[in-house]
């Protein structure tokens, strides 16, 4: 019988086998992220920033035992901000302060800290975000609040403009997505944080007509912007169910006061690919895991509904928007195993499905699955295009035997790291 019992256990972390593309920036332009933590806490963010050529936008303020125990931790931050504003040229327009698990225990008054910083550095904007997996059991993942904080830098500006904000994470949305054609047909400009050329362009996002929320963690940010900026929003995180995608686009049109969209060509193209792939895979068992998508249960549900033989879905933290999928599995397909993708049980798990396909590198590696769908791409697919891409990848993976060593080598290959001289006052 299938089950969902994410009983608390030790956690195992498989090696990352995904490839990361270089990004021109990580976050809002002309902004510096100041990571405040014990030194090692920021190690992975910095190494990733080097890999993705975004290191120039990330700075660390290390705190040690003395700082934490003496309580002078909070007072270090304004002086550090002054030093970095004096050092980094050109001077950043905003500073995003990022704190970690330690801060949860120290009880920092973030509102007071932000007020202090804004009064001491009136030309600079500030927000404070958390990276605190320690708080996972208490509520939402920290990404929700982090995104809300980022958009809190926006203030009301002038008249509404014919633009839609794409509220999504920092990976670039694949330009092949039909989303851009649809917006183009509606005469709307697509605005994203990471395509803004400068801070002023980012501030113009406050004048957009709609927030199209493409990631679950954008929900709080959108709700806040509705209150503070009067921008309505549509919750449209990537789903692999065609009905969900259609509904999201139609809701967007309706919210903007437009006629219903004709999406039949996209739906039909996706259905054809689904049918072709289903025929090719036959009864091949499928496993979905959270390294493929933030919403593995939703992906697994879609594939099950399309007639694929999903046997197991691994998830880590089940997001609120994915609970209906979880309940659907319990009610309709209790034979499909829903497992905790973080659990140490992964280490001893054997592949008893034989000739199976894993969508997601983590479980594929752990089970040494013969067929692997490496998903998503470094550029993020969205909408019907994402469904088609998934089907294409599954179709081709059925004929290919996964080479995990080669995947590992590719995942550790990147453009030469930028260690050019900068010195003080770069």
């Amino acid at each position: 019988m299938g089950q969902c019992s994410f009983q608390r256990s030790l956690e195992y972390i498989p090696p990352p086998l995904g490839r990361a593309a270089a990004r021109k920036r990580d976050g809002i332009p002309q902004t510096i992220r100041l990571h405040v933590s014990p030194s090692a806490c920021g190690r992975r963010f910095t190494i990733n920033a080097y890999r993705q050529h975004t290191k120039d936008h990330l700075v660390h303020l290390y705190i040690d035992e003395t700082d934490i125990v003496s309580g002078c931790y909070e007072s270090l931050i304004p002086d550090a901000v002054e030093e970095l504003l004096d050092t980094i040229k050109p001077r950043p327009r905003a500073v995003m302060i990022q704190v970690t698990c330690i801060d949860d225990l120290l009880g920092t008054d973030h509102a007071a800290l932000r007020a202090l910083l804004e009064s001491r550095f009136p030309e600079t904007r500030f927000c404070i975000t958390r990276r605190n997996p320690i708080a996972l059991d208490g509520g939402l993942p920290s990404g929700y609040e982090a995104m809300r904080q980022m958009y809190s830098l926006l203030t009301p500006v002038g008249q509404r403009q014919d633009a839609v904000n794409l509220v999504c994470d920092s990976a670039e949305t694949a330009p092949e997505s039909e989303l851009f054609r649809i917006l183009d047909e509606l005469g709307l400009e697509a605005r994203r944080i990471d395509t803004c050329r400068d801070f002023d362009e980012f501030l113009q996002m406050a004048a957009s007509r709609l927030n199209f929320v493409m990631t679950p963690i954008g929900e709080k940010a959108a709700a806040m912007m509705e209150q503070t900026l009067g921008i309505p929003w549509v919750f449209a995180p990537q789903s692999y169910r065609l009905a969900d995608i259609t509904q999201a686009y139609q809701e967007m049109a309706a919210t903007l006061g437009r006629s219903p969209l004709d999406l039949s060509q996209y739906e039909e193209a996706a259905r054809q690919k689904i049918a072709r792939t289903r025929e090719r895979l036959g009864g091949m068992p499928i496993i979905v895991d959270q390294s493929a998508t933030m919403r593995p249960l939703v992906m697994a549900r879609a594939l099950t509904e399309y007639g694929f033989q999903v046997k197991t879905a691994f998830d880590g933290v089940v997001l609120p928007c994915d609970i209906p999928a979880l309940e659907w599995f319990h009610a309709e397909h209790p034979e499909i195993e829903i497992c905790d993708g973080r659990s140490c049980d992964l280490l001893k798990r054997k592949n008893d499905l034989g000739e199976c396909m894993c969508i997601g590198t983590s479980t594929g590696y752990m089970l040494n699955a013969p067929h692997l769908v490496e998903f998503p791409e470094p550029g993020k697919p969205y909408g019907f295009q994402a469904v088609e891409l998934l089907m294409d990848k599954m179709f081709h993976a059925a004929d290919a035997i996964a080479d995990y060593s080669k995947l590992h080598t590719a995942s550790e290959t990147w453009q030469p790291v930028d260690c050019r001289r900068r010195g003080c006052g770069r």
């Binding site: 014990p38 190690r43 910095t46 890999r51 700082d67 320690i134 001893k348 590992h408």
Partner: protein
């Protein structure tokens, strides 16, 4: 390092050093943290993680557990996992949050050992210190716990201390040292901690000299000297011809019982700066002396051990200190991890030679790690000599 750090990456932490030492042994290791610290180690500090499915886990610490002191949650999880994995030992490591709330890793370990009957170590790593401290703590504890008293000395027995991929990467550097010892008629007893088993550690008292190959190896070396009178030599052969002097120093220590850090003759402060791990800095400095360069400063990033240092060596605590040191204009050549070059200015008349260190730059260069005992490294050192000899 403390305070503001603009260009350099955060260095590997003490829990990474500890895990790196425990990696090859048949034990279960648990880092008591929410996930990020463990991820730092597995995905950024352990070149061997891919392809080796070791039972090294995160405890999945949550806020309420930390605040309420719910150590029983951790103990229950470990006990349950140990029943299925049946490791030879268990190790529980701390991280910043358990440190702040005063979690007693030794006490937790004792409770786990009582419940499971499996030898359990509690290491008070904090995530607030560097990797060499964690590695040192683990090696010393393993020696203390496993070394057998009833063992006969091996005539030319040598232990190698301080071998971890954080200093040596996972290329042939560590194995090369073992081969060097063998080829010079030494018998490696325990090569701690790469290519080493608990049985080897149990025999470590049979060695007649300890070869300290990294700063982290000093603590177990001093322990063995204090308790069993085994002398040590801290040295690292660099380039194609450095091994002879190191082997001679080991032989002398073995015969006369005198411990020391190996330094070439005629060294002084000068216009070459080597930045990094202290024993590696000394090794490069000694190798440069063979190229006629004797004016060399060492700037140590992970704490300055006076037993290994020359009087003019520099203890770097902050990025700003290193930046200011480089701005003095004193140095015409710098050897350091490639990320250090970011601290130089365009106008600095200073040749830079990249010498990656996993503990600094993680995976960024670990596939391009220098082979310490190689002609390629000799070429780099010759280029350093050229850079400082030009008018």
């Amino acid at each position: 390092m403390s305070q503001l750090c603009i260009d350099l990456p955060p260095f590997a932490s003490d829990y990474s050093g500890a895990c790196s030492c425990l990696f090859e042994l048949n034990g279960m290791v648990v880092i008591h943290d929410a996930r990020c610290c463990t991820m730092n180690y597995t995905n950024y500090d352990e070149p061997r993680w891919f392809g080796n499915k070791r039972p090294i886990f995160c405890s999945g610490l949550r806020e309420l557990d930390a605040v309420l002191g719910r150590d029983d949650v951790l103990i229950d999880k470990i006990t349950q996992a140990a029943a299925e994995i049946t490791p030879e030992f268990i190790a529980v490591l701390g991280s910043p949050v358990p440190t702040i709330v005063g979690a007693d890793m030794v006490g937790i370990a004792a409770e786990i050992e009582t419940r499971t009957g499996i030898r359990t170590f509690g290491f008070s790593t904090t995530g607030l210190r560097y990797y060499n401290r964690g590695a040192a703590e683990v090696m010393t504890e393993l020696v203390r716990s496993y070394a057998r008293e009833d063992i006969s000395p091996v005539a030319d027995g040598v232990n190698l201390l301080g071998l971890t991929p954080l200093d040596f990467s996972d290329n042939r550097n560590a194995a090369g040292l073992v081969e060097t010892a063998r080829s010079h008629n030494f018998t490696p007893v325990a090569s701690m901690m790469m290519g080493c088993s608990l049985a080897d550690i149990a025999s470590c008292r049979a060695a007649r000299v300890n070869w300290v190959a990294a700063q982290s190896g000093m603590a177990p070396a001093l322990f063995m000297e204090r308790n069993w009178g085994i002398p040590w030599v801290a040295a690292l052969p660099m380039g194609g011809s450095g091994a002879g002097q190191v082997m001679e120093a080991l032989r002398t220590a073995m015969e006369h019982g005198e411990s020391r850090a190996l330094h070439a003759a005629g060294l002084s402060t000068g216009d070459v700066l080597i930045v990094g791990e202290q024993v590696q800095c000394n090794g490069l400095r000694n190798a440069l002396a063979q190229h006629g360069v004797t004016g060399v400063d060492a700037a140590c990033l992970f704490g300055l051990d006076k037993l290994l240092a020359l009087p003019w060596d520099i203890d770097i605590h902050k990025e700003r200190e290193l930046r200011e040191l480089l701005k003095t204009g004193k140095y015409r050549a710098v050897i350091a991890d490639p990320t250090v070059e970011r601290l130089l200015r365009e106008e600095d008349d200073c040749a830079f030679f990249g010498f990656p260190l996993v503990a600094v730059s993680s995976k960024l260069f670990w596939h391009n790690y220098k082979l310490f005992q190689s002609a390629e490294l000799d070429q780099m050192l010759a280029q350093v000599a050229n850079a400082v000899s030009r008018d």
